[in-house]
Symmetry: C2
Subunit: 136 residues, 2 copies
DNA sequence: CAAGCAGTTTAGAACAATTCTAAAACTGCA
DNA sequence: TGCAGTTTTAGAATTGTTCTAAACTGCTTG
């Protein structure tokens, strides 16, 4: 399992207009070959370094931004200076545990948001984010 | 409220446990003697400098943080490195115009959020933030 | 109202997160 | 195999914010 290249990932990257380089594939595996996750640039960098796929921090940032721009990831900002990259790009919302910085998904299909006003004129809806902040 | 019978800002600051210094009163007036607003530290600093109440940037940050901690302001984080301080501390939500960084309030009383899951165990609800992201 | 002290302000240093730079290393392709 | 374009990288730079330590000011007390 380790070391083998996953052709699906390479294809997925190519389809996103990104060359499947060693670094990008390594990061993509860490991100997409497991359950949905929420990583920071620092945490992913530490993880890559700990395994044996060292990737520079600049490349981690570049890659996360590219993946996000390609729609492979979504970025969630919960607090000043705390940006998470989320492998779950479908509709869902978040619990943010303020006391320890943890972020948890919850599905949006049982949540109903009714009565939202129309967007300011001249604007188009992009996304509705719900962040439920909790404390221990 | 900021109308005819101008509430004594000095009293308000004292009640918050803050000495009504020249700088704090100047910033409080800019913030609370007009309609609700959303400022950044930079924008408030620029505004103070442009009027004739120059206040150091460090003091602007200190003051905004103190006002927030005292419940006079609330902080809204919408994008990496973009923290707004909001003079509207009541229940309400936001439109964020991603294309130009503008933040607009909308009342929460007509919005219904139903079916939110229970907070993760061991945690207590702190606040629910809804950010409606739109683009021009 | 003067002294004194805690609380406050300030410039500038320090920091943390992120982006930029420019040179070296790759990749895909002719 | 050579080459052009792309990617990676270390380190510098930038940005937003906090910290430091010295100067200053608001408030209390004598
Ligand atoms: Mn970014
Ligand atoms: Mn803060
Ligand atoms: Zn998520
Ligand atoms: Zn607001």
């Amino acid at each position: 399992m380790s070391g083998a290249t996953n052709p699906d990932l390479a294809v997925r990257l190519r389809e996103a207009g990104l060359r499947p380089t060693r670094q990008r594939v390594a990061l993509a595996r860490a991100l997409f070959e497991v359950e949905h996750r929420h990583v920071t640039a620092e945490s992913l960098h530490a993880e890559a370094k700990a395994g044996r796929n060292p990737v520079s921090l600049a490349t981690v940032y570049n890659t996360l931004n590219q993946f996000r721009d390609a729609g492979l990831l979504r970025e969630v900002v919960v607090a000043p200076g705390r940006s998470y990259f989320d492998t779950n790009t479908g509709h869902h919302h978040h619990f943010y545990v303020e006391t320890d910085g943890e972020l948890h998904d919850f599905p949006s299909d049982k949540v109903t948001i009714a009565g939202l006003p129309a967007p300011p004129k001249g604007t188009r809806l992009s996304r509705v984010d719900v962040i439920v902040r909790v404390r221990r």
